[in-house]
Assembly symmetry: C3
């Protein structure tokens, strides 16, 4: 664990110190549970009361913060982001470097001397592991796999043959990269596997959550773009093209040959069918579905299948008012009936 | 495998024996497939015909059972529960005690002498394993992990650093406890990890199904309360507070900072958004969703987003009758048109 | 990798050669990326332009293909199926035969001399592994497990005790077969496990995707029928009876005691409740749900709960037109009001 003074930390995030900049900060904490030596942050001025009673030695606050508190302050434009960057410094990931436990490493594999290889790891023929990368215990790496520098491959990850992984990639426990895509050709009696002999490319700075699966391309490549973050238990199918800085929440599934452009956000349990295109910056709400072959423009979308959020909200309200609508129709019917009676009466009188 | 007489088993469940109590029972079975030496149960009197032809040596039946059968009987208030309790006696979990296979155990770890440690297990620095606990083959246990007594950790489970697990906990194969929560702060170019340096607490008597994931708290703790049962492929996010005796079925996902109070039941593929509260005893139907920040009271709830079951059923019926509703509106329109014509005609006549 | 002439390949798929049959083919490829030595296929005549510019040495085309191209052709009734069958020949799965890495194999286990056993594998008491089967690194096989011939068990698969697996079965990485079903009996204070002491039977030619879970039967058997294909992250619960040639896409879940008959197709994220029956050949659309106890006939079904596709489409269109329907009702109301006024006026005049 590192320690820094408030001034050192403020400099890292281009923040301005209010109060004693020489106080030493040891760790980040929640504003409610923070104690001496801790730095916390205040995302919104509506939490100012918490700031007043916080025991944190330093608070990161939005610019223009005027509340009288006992902690030192770092004023900055984006307090949450500054907190995240400071946490990276105070809590660096555990270093495990330059040691190899009882593992089975092919003679043709190239493992950098600064890499950490945990116990019960396998590394296959012609695979390579870059500088400072950790392959933790029980991870199984196939043949012809390339893994870059500064990666953390957590325990029991499985990487199939011929997969390429960039630098600063984190794969959480149980992730499976490069299993066969789910494609078959059928004859009268049986399904025959469509060839699943393509590859997977995971670019730099990607993080993939526990037990998620990224299938290999059938003939081509499945790609996860730079800086994309994927949650736990997510399914990415064969030949999907996932852009840069995409965010995909837990239990979402993307069928084959979909294109998810840069900066898209998929909430939890979303389903994206095959041969779809989600355009740059679109956000798809939780549990929503995009049907086969559709293109979704930028904006916020919800529903099964998706529609613009505003329409979704309006229709949802109308759906919930269906009972009233039905009653209204019955009332109109009654009114018409009574009008008919009146008219019938008058007609008779006037006929 | 244990053997017991019918009288011994009846005493265990406060049941009353009808017939020969000295018959020896060797195993539990389904009423249809039971044979000599088996005990089966009859949950409902409507299955009385099956009881008549069953070859079971003993049947557990509800009180007041009057059907003439050849098997001995144990009469009890809750036949299914009695069957479950008797199965625990007749089919005790396989004991694996006091042996250590080729594993990598840190010198600073404390493993009870009665614990079973399977092959290819890792146990990290300062971790502890309690009495009679099984850590099965391929399980990877991090540093500073505490595991209580009488736990069964199935093969290839991964427990990250600093996790605490109570006693009599079962983790099925592939479970991941303590992976990083899914939280980032974004600047113009990239997502930066929000610190995920909290912990996970799994209390006593919890069971977690295969390949489920419980993320660590960002700064605080993710907690799974005593006696809670979680199915396969479930996602529990950072800082979730799951109460006691909660039941969560397969493929459900709970976003961060949600509170699920005691005795809640979530059916399959449910989605609970962040910062929600599901109050004590609520039941959420399959495939339903609770949206961000909502509080759900006790009762049965369904839909996306959820509503009370009765309302859900009524709206669903009205939804399915939308075609009729549309036709009814068209009919009303026609009737109005014909009224207008009549009125127009009469108006003209009277003008 | 194998090499074959075009004539040899055509004979394998009962196709007719147009052009030079003696050209040697080395690999399959996508029609767009194919080069010399590659064989590609054209599924539909609408892609004829791609055929004209393809550099493939051979194209598999539908019968009656009349486009003038430079590649040799194999004409056949089902081009995609022929491509799949040819890929099996040109790209046979990697053979790993007759070697045992540092693994822990019980003395009572019977492993065929042609089987491959990867590093860090465990095989339990009285288990058997058939001819040419691969148990890849990190896979954990329990006691009394039977695995047939020509299977590929990928890394870190877990098979619990007493499971039976046929021949030519592929289990992808992280699959868990035979974990306890999710069944409990409750008393006032706690859930007690309902006995989960049944088995799992996986029949011949089944393929199961990464991190999917097949639970054991409670008392009886969970069965996956011959030739069935299951995608990643799928949940199959205790006592499910899955027929032959069933296809189940990713993130779908089937609750306990369901029957899925032969040739059923479930799309992604489908939920099937307990004690249901999906009849032979039915197709259930993505994200759909079948509720407890229902029987679903052959045909295409969608929705929560499911309805026939045609009805689903019609209701969906009407749902999306709810705003218009509401406006229409308001218009009718206004018309009625103006009729009432007219009538009132006339009534007054005539009273």
């Amino acid at each position: 664990m590192n320690e820094k003074t408030i001034s050192e930390l403020a400099a890292l995030v281009s923040g301005e110190v209010k109060g004693d900049g020489d106080v030493v900060i040891k760790r980040v904490a929640d504003i409610k549970n923070a104690n001496e030596g801790d730095i916390a942050f205040l995302e919104d001025l509506k939490f100012a009361e918490q700031a007043k009673i916080s025991k944190a030695s330093c608070l990161i606050v939005p610019k223009g913060f005027q509340v009288d508190v006992s902690s030192s302050l770092i004023e900055t434009a984006n307090a949450k982001l500054a907190f995240a960057l400071i946490a990276k410094i105070l809590h660096p990931p555990k270093k495990k470097i330059g040691s190899i436990h009882p593992a089975v490493i092919a003679e043709s594999a190239k493992v950098d001397s600064t890499a950490f290889i945990g116990a019960h790891v396998c590394i296959g023929e012609n695979s390579s592991v870059g500088a400072n990368t950790q392959i933790n215990s029980g991870a199984q790496i196939g043949d012809n796999v390339s893994i870059g520098d500064d990666c953390v491959i957590h325990p029991n990850v499985v990487i199939y043959d011929n997969v390429t992984i960039g630098s600063r990639v984190t794969l959480h426990a149980g992730v499976v990269i490069g299993a066969d895509g789910f494609g078959y050709a059928r004859d009268a009696d049986a399904y025959h596997k469509f060839p699943q002999i393509g590859t997977v490319m995971i670019e730099d700075d990607v993080e993939i959550g526990a037990n998620s699966c990224i299938d290999r391309g059938a003939l081509g490549e499945t790609r996860i773009g730079r800086g994309t973050k994927i949650d736990n238990l997510v399914q990415i199918a064969h030949n999907d093209q996932i852009g840069e800085r995409v965010v995909i929440a837990a239990l979402s599934g993307i069928s084959g040959s979909a294109t998810i452009e840069d900066d898209v956000v998929l909430a939890g349990q979303v389903g994206i069918a095959d041969h779809t295109r989600i355009q740059k910056g679109a956000m798809i709400g939780a549990k929503s579905a995009v049907f086969t072959g559709k293109t979704i423009r930028s904006g916020v979308w919800c529903g099964i299948p998706v529609m613009p959020l505003e329409k979704y909200k309006k229709l949802n309200a109308q759906y919930r008012a269906l009972t009233k609508m039905s009653e209204k129709i019955d009332e109109l019917k009654e009114e018409i009936e009574s009008l008919k009676e009146i008219i019938l009466e008058h007609n008779l009188r006037h006929s």
